[in-house]
Subunit: 215 residues, 2 copies
């Protein structure tokens, strides 16, 4: 069989030709679709937000959108990938900064509270209801997630071992800090709760009565 | 239509007669089925453990099991209800005990770590993949869950306000403590991790350098 030109009807599955080497224009257009999708899903929920909603905001026909993303599951993959890339970039900056262990632990706690509280519904989908992506996509996301967790845990472990946390198994400390900050997506309501105040509280809970650097 | 005697084939839905006032014998038998189901699901996973597995362990035909529970979803409801009743009972004892605020906060942290680490896969289902129960069941579970959370949060809040945690919004403190302990179900592996050591670490993280009562 020869490859066919994409038709107008949405199709999924192995029959759809892949863009082996997508053009710069194609990628740029897709990036802006992902930007929009992030906003649309954040507003309308990742469950109920649809490709129709994204197409409408972009002023595209749904058929045109399908030229760039093959399904909502694929779009969610791109959205997760974008979110994890951003968070990973900030985490890398933060863990390589020239700070005291105490300052770095504080920064790690604040960072994770801000990442999760900025878009709790993203994490509901990411942590609990991740749609079934094909093997390649899922492997890619998991690779980045593992890298993120390793980097985060290493940061907490290093700070704990540098004496910021005493008498505490550094591996458990890392999981506890990740837990208290990640759990935010289960209850944080941006219309009621305050992310900065929560970050202050988390820092205070872990770093105790030493003064909190709020500025 | 008149009610029919239960037949041998499993049926779900509104057609199946309810036991309006189940006999003591019926309830007792069902309790032992729930005990077994808790063990079976804990061993085999809540996802893959089936009614067949439960029936096999009990030495019952599946058709007989259906006399007591109408579906896996219903059995899961009973399992959740049992788990939440037990945890609630211990929490009530603990919050009404005559202890110092510091001791109580420590007990609250330990309690939640032990509850979750004892059966992480139960909480994976409970928190993330709760099956759709009918309205009455779901309302009942949610009522108990809210009571549990209220009692837990009130305990942490009281202890925080009594001066155990300083400079920290008590409402956020309660969510952070619940988060660090509940998150356990996402990573705790009973074959690798140690629940007591994790509880020690959690107490130490929150209550800092004061000595940890391990005995």
């Amino acid at each position: 069989m020869t490859a066919k030109a994409p038709d107008q009807s949405p199709r999924r599955g192995p029959g759809r030709p892949r863009h082996e080497t997508p053009s710069a224009e194609f990628l740029e257009r897709r990036e802006s679709i992902i930007d929009t999708a992030l906003e649309v899903f954040k507003q309308r929920g990742y469950d109920s937000g649809s490709l129709d909603d994204v197409a409408a905001v972009l002023g595209l026909r749904k058929a045109s959108l399908y030229y760039y993303v093959r399904s909502k599951a694929e779009l969610l993959y791109f959205v997760f990938d974008r979110a994890i890339n951003r968070a990973l970039e900030r985490l890398e900056t933060l863990t390589s900064a020239d700070e005291s262990p105490r300052q770095r632990l504080e920064a790690l706690i604040r960072h994770q509270v801000m990442v999760v509280s900025d878009d709790p519904s993203l994490f509901t989908v990411f942590f609990d209801q991740r749609p079934h992506h094909d093997g390649e996509y899922e492997a890619e996301i998991q690779k980045k997630e593992r890298r993120y967790l390793r980097l985060y845990a290493q940061g907490v472990t290093d700070d704990a071992e540098a004496g910021v946390l005493t008498n505490i198994d550094p591996r458990y400390a890392a999981q506890l800090v990740l837990g208290m900050t990640n759990w935010t997506y289960k209850w944080f309501d941006p219309s009621r709760d305050d992310a900065e105040a929560l970050a202050d509280a988390a820092v205070q809970l872990v770093l105790g009565s030493s003064d909190v650097d709020g500025d």
